[in-house]
């Protein structure tokens, strides 16, 4: 091994090589023929949904293979009352709300952060959460609230922000935590009878958590889980490995993303996460409903920086979601495809989304709308 050094070109173009893509497509067609039955593969992660739709990977597999787009977009699954909370916090006096760009268009029950900003609220979209320290330091007389979003991949970044802000004794920075967890969502989908034969595991979540979190789905539910990166060849490789497992009647956790995801994950990140966070009893997922132990919150000892605690009177209570005849719940469970929904592209578009799957680039409906409308 290592006869040639790794280069940028290899890390990008190597995994997008058209000839190899076609070769995988061919192998997948062969394997599907051997298997000779329809297969529903859920890609849990919105990043995979985006890759599949952007690169047209679904056009490279036979019709018997269907991709079911899972609940892996962290802003799509945020319930309206938490979006409303971000707007309510931004509307407090002398407050700057800091969050990531993905949040800008997400509609709450009445409005979105981009509208709040247009109305004069100080809402800042940062490229890295660590910028929140700079903003807090430059505005010592204001409350700066970091509205944290993301799955297991992003939780350590919030933990690092907390760690650094405490080391630097920044005392005007607060945190509203909306970090959610992948395994409980998969578990719920399986329990509720989602028609899923196998899972493509999210490579970047796994890079942090390690591969162990998927074992129950293979051992107890007998579903193959293949962890994959986000390049076209990564995803096709995972699809092929899933088909081969199904052919052999196997159900194990396989790792196709060994260049980044290790069995044990990133221990340092895990330690930092458990220093500051613990599991919530439950969390409402937009389009799905309440899932037990499916999100993180700050540990009790950090109550003084917990925006949910400190400004609880501003944050709206959890409410039942308004449903508007949209099929998001069904789509997330694998029972429907975006184009099955009567609202798709009509009452529901990325600029005026009705349901969770249309609100962010990664949502299944938004991805279809952008790339597959015709």
């Amino acid at each position: 091994m290592g006869s040639q050094p790794l280069t940028t070109d290899k890390l990008y173009s190597g995994y997008r090589n058209p000839d190899i893509i076609r070769a995988y497509s061919h192998k997948i067609h062969q394997a599907a023929q051997d298997l000779d039955r329809p297969v529903n593969i859920m890609e849990v992660c919105g990043g995979h949904t985006f890759s599949i739709v952007k690169y047209g990977l679904d056009q490279l597999v036979p019709d018997s293979i269907r991709f079911i787009h899972g609940p892996g977009c962290p802003v799509c699954v945020l319930p309206q009352h938490r979006i409303d909370a971000s707007i309510a916090l931004a509307s407090m006096e002398d407050t700057i709300l800091v969050t990531l760009g993905d949040m800008i268009k997400i509609p709450g029950s009445r409005t979105s952060l981009q509208h709040a900003r247009a109305e004069g609220r100080d809402v800042r979209f940062v490229y890295t959460p660590l910028d929140a320290i700079k903003i807090a330091t430059e505005n010592p007389h204001k409350k700066v609230i970091y509205f944290a979003i993301g799955f297991e991949t992003t939780t350590p970044m919030t933990a690092l922000l907390i760690e650094q802000s405490r080391q630097l004794k920044v005392n005007n920075l607060f945190f509203h935590i909306n970090h959610v967890l992948v395994p409980p969502a998969i578990e719920l989908i399986l329990q509720q009878g989602g028609h899923i034969d196998a899972f493509i595991g999210p490579g970047h979540v796994t890079t942090i958590t390690g591969t162990g979190i998927y074992e129950p789905f293979a051992l107890q539910h007998h579903k193959p889980v293949v962890i994959s990166g986000f390049e076209p060849i990564d995803v096709l490789d995972a699809v092929l490995k899933i088909l081969l497992q199904l052919c052999d009647n196997k159900a194990i956790v396989e790792n196709c993303y060994s260049r980044s995801a290790k069995p044990e994950g990133n221990l340092k990140a895990q330690a930092l996460v458990s220093k500051y966070f613990e599991t919530r009893e439950d969390f409402i997922w937009r389009g799905i409903g309440t899932i037990e132990n499916s999100a993180m919150k700050l540990r009790d000892e950090y109550v003084e920086i917990d925006a949910e605690q400190q400004f609880s009177r501003y944050c709206p209570r959890a409410t039942q979601e308004k449903t508007s005849g949209c099929l998001c719940g069904q789509i997330l469970m694998g029972h429907a495809q975006p184009k099955d929904c009567a609202l798709f592209g009509k009452g529901c578009t990325p600029s005026s989304p009705q349901g969770s799957c249309m609100v962010s680039n990664e949502g299944a409906c938004a991805a279809y709308y952008r790339y597959r409308r015709y």
């Binding site: 890295t128 350590p156 979540v205 196709c256 060994s258 260049r259």
Partner: protein
Amino acid sequence: MCLAVPSKIVSIDHEFCTATVDTMGVSREANLALVENNVEVGDWVLVHIGIAMSKIDAEEALRTLELHEELLLSSDIQENDPDGKSTSDDG
């Protein structure tokens, strides 16, 4: 979820635990706190929202690429192109 891109470490500032990294010719700052002690200049890291989340295992990256190349060699896609989807660019 979770956009993260491979970037090469160009220099490390140990005092602030940050690095200058190169992403396809664009250089920028990245925080190294989550991969500290584990990386050096010339290594590849995966950067998520400005923070390195893992070191890329170069050996594994090359090994997987080799496996993909082998798959290509073992398949005769010219004749068996599914659905006739092989491209003939009209460039």
